[in-house]
Symmetry: C2
Amino acid sequence: MAITFYDLCGKDGARFSPYGWRTRMALAHKGLDYTLELVKFTEKEKLAFTGQKLVPVIQYGETVVNDSFAIACFLEDAFPDKPSLFSGEAGRGMAKTINGFVDRMVQPLIAPLIVADVLDCVDESCKEYFRSSREQRFGMTLQEFQSKRDEKVAAFRTALEPIRMVVKDQRFIGGSAPTYADYILFDSMQWARLTSTFQLVEGDDPIHAWFERVLDSNGGIAREEPIAATAA
Amino acid sequence: MAITFYDLCGKDGARFSPYGWRTRMALAHKGLDYTLELVKFTEKEKLAFTGQKLVPVIQYGETVVNDSFAIACFLEDAFPDKPSLFSGEAGRGMAKTINGFVDRMVQPLIAPLIVADVLDCVDESCKEYFRSSREQRFGMTLQEFQSKRDEKVAAFRTALEPIRMVVKDQRFIGGSAPTYADYILFDSMQWARLTSTFQLVEGDDPIHAWFERVLDSNGGIAREEPIAATAA
């Protein structure tokens, strides 16, 4: 039985969705092959069979799963003999806590640093949709929302402290090897790395060294992904 | 070989330190007996042999460990056959991340809700030390710092969201039974429960139901602890 993975794509097939990356790293961690289906922002009709409009989506036989954390749980349960994403029941609850922490308290601090740059990586056919939907959400133009990012980045760096305290003393949150908890923040930062030239953390930040280590994990698939960002 | 546990105490032997509770729940989780040594705020000379001034401290033979997370790691490693606090190497890193999240982003939002009430639970001999040291830290009187708590509590409740998302769907962060990740937030809220009549969360908040479940865990030791709070 084959896995089909529906992932968001931008201009020229660029794949930068942070949630798509969580699924992509989870699939790589478990060493699973899959068929890739790319979905542009304005091609959500491709997801009609899922009963909702968001990627990533995994289809495995009759089973359809959306929401990146639910997908990780599905992969963990469906492929228990492959390397674990969570380290048991207790680890799954902790990973879900960290998932909520990054989604609620960290990733919202990245958006105002890069969102106008992300627009440049969106396919021409989707730009108007992307711009107007985001400008409505933020209540201002994307350029305004992204202004003063040299000041705003401080709040993002401060919010990383709970993870910095861990990875300054060990290679990964997962210890000697990354687990799903690592991929959560990594993928939010990978979103920025692929779409923007803005520097999220300083070179001497332990988060930077940890990020480089995750880039090298899983055969370096995250490092090999083409950078979509256009020169600033 | 016996364990000696040095814990903070207030008036009439009241034990409300959130960090002391983390060690106490970790010891109970592992089913370990210990000799208790109580240390008042102004009795830090009792800790001179540790080379620092903070409780909790664990002494086990020649080994002396301070810092509640380091103590939990020590107990996990020294008693590997007892119930696990972390669920392996990956779980330990995740628990440390959650420890940092609660210490940096949640517990600082509890202090302004209860700190003047905590003063009433401090031994008479330590009140002046407690008041002046905290007023210096906060830059205002404890009553001022604790004012408007009906408004301030909203920020605390919002900060719980990453944990609320987990325990609304399962009994504990640890799954069917609590692990160290549960004790971290629990013990910060136990600090408030023992020292103040202020209500941290609404009765219909999933965090409330989870807190009650942790109170019943480990033989109910947290529920049985005498409430030190004086009537408001």
